[in-house]
């Protein structure tokens, strides 16, 4: 019965989303919701044979699939027309709904049946299913003409950023409120080294490493003087850094570097003796426009692989490139987490003084977290610059840092899977859901609501001006965070460690209560 509830949630949510996107979206949502439902059930089911588990999942899957299709059809014939889009019962609608139903039921049962496998095989099976969906997604997307891939790519950029920041905040426990600065440094390194701005056109595959290296260098330079600063103060310092970097990039439009010997030192000495300067000042760089200021650097070079140049209108190669970068990122971070360095991050987060007693160098350990965290921002920045082809300082401001922090916190501090889910949820909400909701509301307003309000022009104007959910982006962010912190402070998918952090006090209290009770009795 309780499983049916899960089915209802998945079915209704998927169904409601079809209102926004229409068309083939019901099939795509069926695939995601089916796999998601299967995974959700799979965790809760007792172990048994595969067939039994699939059978157990069947009624739940049928409920979910049925609800989704019912809502989708309701959307097609009642809701969509209210927004001005008339759809007839054509073959696409029929095919999309039938396929969506099959995908939902089939995938939910398939995934649930993994519970019948032994633990190792269960994990492999899940990985294969996930890989299949990840690989198939862009092709299905193109086929269905949904154009979700470009938004997902955005989400994946923030997944990398979240994974990098997670090293600093989650593993080493250092607050960094200016992480987007490293994202900017990666992007600008790429922009400067592969654009007509300076007529330098380095290969993307080289530039991405340079960008990462540059970000790491700045992580090091920022970290070295500031890391002895603790806790809240570190937050403020990084906040300042995050504010300064975009401003610097905005203002590096007229760079002149004088050679000090001929420009200052020799003339200075001459003037000291009352003579007028006779040496010509040599300018190493004179009036160079390094970053193009607010105009931004544009167009930035694209990756070329085996003679094929990535194109803006074909998102599939970009998608696989960023998936590759994420896989590399996850691999590296997992290796580090299990290493001696990972251990010392944990220890520093727990107790710096005790760590020093164990022989851990606190400054070096924190510096490593800062610089390595920045590396991944460098990767993300390079990809972003090449993908968007133009970069502006305003993209990397404080709000970007905060969004990345939200990805980490919402997903689950200290947990790789959590951060991935956090990034996908926040950024698809921001890039895909909110714009779709905006169009949907606009249609609904123009076609149904505003005409109904025609008797009251003031109200009509107020409603039409404020019914744009994108205006409330940060309000929604804030609300989500507040709610999360109240309900589930450890994030969507918490790490065991973090759960312990946030609930250790309760645990400790429980043990102490136990003991004091015992003591009273005794």
């Amino acid at each position: 019965m309780q499983h049916i509830k899960t089915g209802v949630i998945f079915g209704v949510l998927a169904g409601l989303f079809t209102f926004l996107f229409g068309g083939w979206s019901v099939t795509m949502l069926g695939i995601f919701a089916g796999a998601g439902l299967g995974l959700a059930l799979e965790n809760k089911l007792e172990r048994g044979t595969q067939l039994a588990k699939a059978k157990e999942a069947l009624p739940v899957a049928l409920v979910a699939g049925g609800l989704m299709v019912a809502l989708s059809l309701f959307g097609n014939f009642v809701v969509q027309p209210a927004t001005g889009k008339f759809t007839a019962l054509n073959t696409i609608v029929v095919a999309a709904n039938i396929l969506g139903f099959i995908a939902m039921v089939g995938l939910a049962m398939l995934t649930a049946s993994f519970r019948g496998l032994d633990e190792k095989k269960e994990k492999t099976a899940k990985t294969i299913l996930l890989a299949a969906i990840v690989i198939a997604f862009p092709f299905i997307d193109v086929f269905m003409n949904l154009r979700w891939t470009s938004n997902i790519i955005f989400a994946l950029i923030f997944v990398i950023l979240g994974l990098g920041l997670n090293i600093v905040v989650g593993y080493a426990g250092l607050l960094n409120l200016g992480y987007a600065a490293f994202f900017a440094i990666g992007a600008y390194t790429t922009g400067i080294l592969s654009s007509p701005q300076h007529d330098i056109f380095l290969n993307f595959w080289l530039v991405i490493w340079l960008a990462a290296g540059m970000a790491a260098l700045w992580g090091f330079l920022l970290g070295a003087p500031t890391l002895p600063v603790r806790g809240d103060y570190l937050g403020i310092v990084t906040l300042g850094f995050g504010e300064i970097i975009p401003v610097i990039f905005k203002n590096l439009i007229d760079v002149t570097i004088n050679e000090p010997l001929t420009c200052w030192i020799i003339p200075g000495i001459q003037r000291l003796f009352g003579a007028t300067s006779t040496v010509a000042c040599i300018n190493l760089v004179s009036h160079m426009d390094l970053t193009a200021g607010e105009k931004g650097i544009n167009p930035i070079g694209r990756p070329i692989l085996f003679g094929y140049e990535f194109q803006s209108n074909n998102t599939t190669p970009w998608y696989f490139l960023i998936i590759l970068i994420i896989m590399l990122t996850v691999f590296l971070i997992q290796r580090m987490y299990k290493s001696r360095l990972g251990r010392s991050w944990m220890a520093i987060r727990e107790d710096e003084l005790a760590s020093a007693q164990m022989g851990i160098d606190p400054v070096k350990t924190k510096l490593a977290a800062f610089a390595i965290g920045a590396v991944f921002a460098g990767f993300a920045g390079a990809f972003y610059a090449a993908y968007i082809r133009a970069i502006f300082p305003s993209v990397f401001d404080f709000s970007a840092s905060i969004i990345i922090l939200c990805v980490v916190i919402l997903g689950g501090i200290g947990n790789i899977n959590g951060v991935i889910v956090g990034g996908l949820v926040i950024m698809t909400a921001d890039r895909l859901f909110l714009p779709a909701l905006k169009d949907f509301l606009k249609g609904l307003l123009d076609f149904t609501i505003l005409p109904a309000l025609s008797s009251n022009p003031g109200l009509q104007a107020a409603v039409s001006q404020n019914a744009n959910p994108i205006l409330y982006r940060f309000l929604l962010f804030g609300l989500t965070l507040v709610i999360m912190m109240r309900v589930r402070p450890e994030g969507l998918i918490p790490s065991a460690q973090m759960r312990a952090v946030l609930h250790a006090d309760e645990e400790i209290e429980a043990v102490q209560n136990d003991e004091s009770k015992k003591a009273k009795k005794g």
């Binding site: 001696r340 251990r343 010392s344 944990m346 220890a347 727990e350 107790d351 003084l353 005790a354 760590s355 020093a356 007693q357 164990m358 022989g359 851990i360 160098d361 606190p362 460690q497 312990a500 952090v501 250790a504 645990e507 400790i508 043990v511 003991e515």
Partner: protein, 235 residues
């Protein structure tokens, strides 16, 4: 092996150690006794590099420690079971013990050492997967000591290892200290329980408001009239 010469340590303006000189020889148990606030913990913290002496020298086997950062001193074979325990509350007992061995270069005997520590403290073995912060006070004390042992130190600094333990366990801890010493570990022991400390130590120093006022063999200190009056509670 360990030698402090005229060490002065300050906390801001507070002159906590006013010229401490002491030695600990290879294979000895040396105890520091003194009333609250005398500077016993500060002495241990100074040896470990958590506080830096303003003047004076600390040498271990000829290596000068007083300028080195704490983590390097740990690498040279100094381990402490500190006052207030300072265990990692969110790591398990096992992970805490593993952290103890962090500074070791030679890990060949790691498994045996772990088993040895768990044999000394069977309580820790029972709670091996429990989070350090959820252990009882006494168990945390054992963990702090076990963690210091995992470092296989040249010199083990113990700051009130019997604090918060039930009387039976206090005796057990002192037996363990004795046993460790018999196995060859050099120990500098700070204790409130001066009688117990003097009965297992070879030598002792008496500390008063940051100065050493007396030093002698443990046997002689135990029979010293002043010590008896001030620290052993004998009228």
């Amino acid at each position: 092996m360990l030698e402090l010469k005229d060490v002065h340590t300050y906390y801001g303006n507070i002159h906590a150690l006013k010229g401490i000189s002491l030695t600990v020889n290879d294979g000895e148990i040396v105890t520091l006794i003194g009333s609250n606030g005398a500077g016993k913990s500060t002495t241990l913290r100074t040896i470990q590099g958590l506080n830096k002496p303003r003047t004076g020298t600390v040498t271990l086997d000829g290596v000068q420690l007083e300028k080195l950062p704490a983590h390097e001193i740990a690498g040279l074979g100094v381990a402490q079971s500190p006052e207030g325990r300072m265990i990692f509350p969110r790591m398990t007992v096992l992970e805490n013990l593993e952290m103890g061995a962090y500074a070791r270069k030679d890990l060949t005997s790691y498994k045996d050492d772990l088993e040895h520590v768990l044999a000394l403290f069977p309580r820790l073995k029972e709670r091996i997967t429990q989070k350090g912060g959820t252990l009882s006070g006494g168990e945390q004390q054992m963990l702090a000591m076990g963690r210091a042992l995992m470092a296989k130190p040249k010199i083990l600094l113990l700051d009130e290892p019997s604090m918060g333990l039930a009387p039976l366990l206090v005796e057990l801890i002192f037996d363990i200290i004795k046993q460790l010493n018999n196995e060859g570990t050099t120990i500098l022991l700070v204790e409130q329980n001066a009688l117990m400390a003097l009965s297992i130590a070879h030598r002792g120093y008496v500390l008063q408001t940051g100065e050493i006022i007396l030093s002698n063999t443990a046997e002689k200190l135990k029979n010293d009239e002043m010590v008896q009056k001030a620290y052993l509670g004998v009228e």
